[in-house]
Amino acid sequence: MTFTLDEFNQCINDLYDQSKQIHDRWQLIKTPKGTYLIYSFIDDNCLKYDFHIVFSESYSVPVLYFNISHLDGSLLSLDDVWKLFAHKNNSNMYETITQQEHPILHRPFFILHPCHTEKLLKQVSDQSMNKKFLFWLSIYGQSVGLPLSVNYAID
């Protein structure tokens, strides 16, 4: 159960349109190397979260990239990140999150492994493309603190 590039682009454009309607923070970035979504915010502990949704051509699925930084710009280590979210996860740290080179920006980001995404999406294979995308985003995003308004799920 995978996405084509066109399907992915449609989904992120739709999410972006919805985001504007409900005055949420998603940004759509278009580059010759690909289009992707960004969601940034600062939490109550002065930690800055940056989430990117990028298409993986290798896996034909969306992938969630993220960085969390202090306000002075310094990045949280994987250990720090894991401690932040340990209560949301019950699996091995290195099996879910690694640091990788962002495929479009080519600088370090944490990534939630896409190798299980296809299996996850099989659970909603009968749903529309947009619903599949939101399902994926709600599961992966939730495990790393990405707030997703319930308004997106409403058609």
Binding site: Y59, L78, E101, P103, C115
Partner: protein, 302 residues
């Protein structure tokens, strides 16, 4: 692709190739040494297909006698955990195999001898916006495994790596660490099989490196069904260079890269393979242990 005894010998030869490297402490860190004698350069012979983070500990141990451990762990302080490597002012992206970095940065056309490869060791001001952190061996293993999984996703939709036992994954990594060719290829051979009734891989896992540019990775099939022929290295590079030039045009870059394959030296594992080699064969025999073909393009100087 037909397999001969000679073909297997090639993979063994590539496994054995080494680079002599000389590590020198940066001037900035040298000035903070708290002993009367300054550290001598550290000479190591490293496998081209291995990764610098695998020897962080070794470099760590070598320099630790010259510095007191700093309790404060922020990025800018002298701290062995902030160790990073640099060549000619470029922080080395050490998640790339050692041989790739050498071929890309140190082996240019016009020079005489670049060996041993002289690399500067830094112990402060870790450039975390540019290079990955590997705080332990497990993090290097995790990165390696994610790359090999991606390669299998391209080649076989992940079917082969997915069907393997965890201990097979461990054997790949441990054989790489312990330099065990047979242990490695006993498992890696499975990743070179064909699936789905094809006589080739679905897509070829590859990355093309050109100096001062981020690497280029695209979907590329090793077989042209319409023309009923196997694609060559030349075909792949032609495709990549033209695609990259398109992106540069769309991004309004001032200078567009040269799209003529003949104007580049094409280097894999320090070797220039014939440009008409089938890319399927190269993928099976010239890939790095992460199952990717890492191809360096160096512009020829006229």
């Amino acid at each position: 692709m037909g397999q001969s005894i000679d073909d297997k010998e090639i993979t063994r030869e590539l496994w054995q190739s080494r680079l002599p490297i000389c590590f020198i402490l940066s001037d900035e860190d040298m000035s903070k040494v708290n002993r009367s004698e300054l550290p001598e350069p550290l000479y190591l012979m490293l496998a081209r297909h291995s990764y610098f983070p695998c020897i962080i500990e070794k470099i760590h141990r070598y320099y630790s006698t010259y510095f007191k451990e700093n309790v404060n762990e922020t990025t800018n302080n002298i701290n062995l955990a902030n160790l990073w490597l640099e060549f000619e002012s470029i922080p080395l992206k050490w998640h790339y195999p050692i041989g790739v970095l050498y071929d890309l940065y140190a082996s240019s056309v016009s020079s005489t001898s670049h060996l041993p490869w002289q690399i500067t060791v830094h112990l402060s001001k870790f450039p975390e916006g540019e290079i990955l952190r590997f705080p332990d061996k497990e993090s290097i293993e995790a990165h390696y495994m994610s790359t090999i999984k991606e390669a299998d996703a391209l080649k076989h939709k992940g079917q082969i790596i997915g069907d393997m036992q965890k201990r097979d994954h461990k054997q790949l990594w441990n054989s790489l660490l312990q330099d065990k060719y047979d242990g490695f290829w006993n498992i890696n051979n499975k990743l070179m099989n064909y699936t789905d009734n094809l006589q080739y891989f679905r897509y070829i896992p590859f990355r093309v490196y050109i100096v001062d540019k981020p690497f280029i990775q695209k979907l590329f099939s090793p077989y042209d069904i319409d023309q009923d022929k196997f694609m060559t290295l030349n075909d792949l590079l032609d495709f990549v260079l033209h695609h990259e030039a398109q992106c540069e045009l769309l991004a309004n870059e001032k200078k567009i890269l040269n799209t003529n394959v003949d104007d580049y030296q094409v280097i894999i594992h320090g070797i220039q393979p014939p440009i008409n080699t089938p890319i399927q064969w190269l993928s099976e025999h010239f890939s790095y242990p992460d199952n990717f073909l890492h191809i360096c393009l160096i512009e020829k100087r006229t």
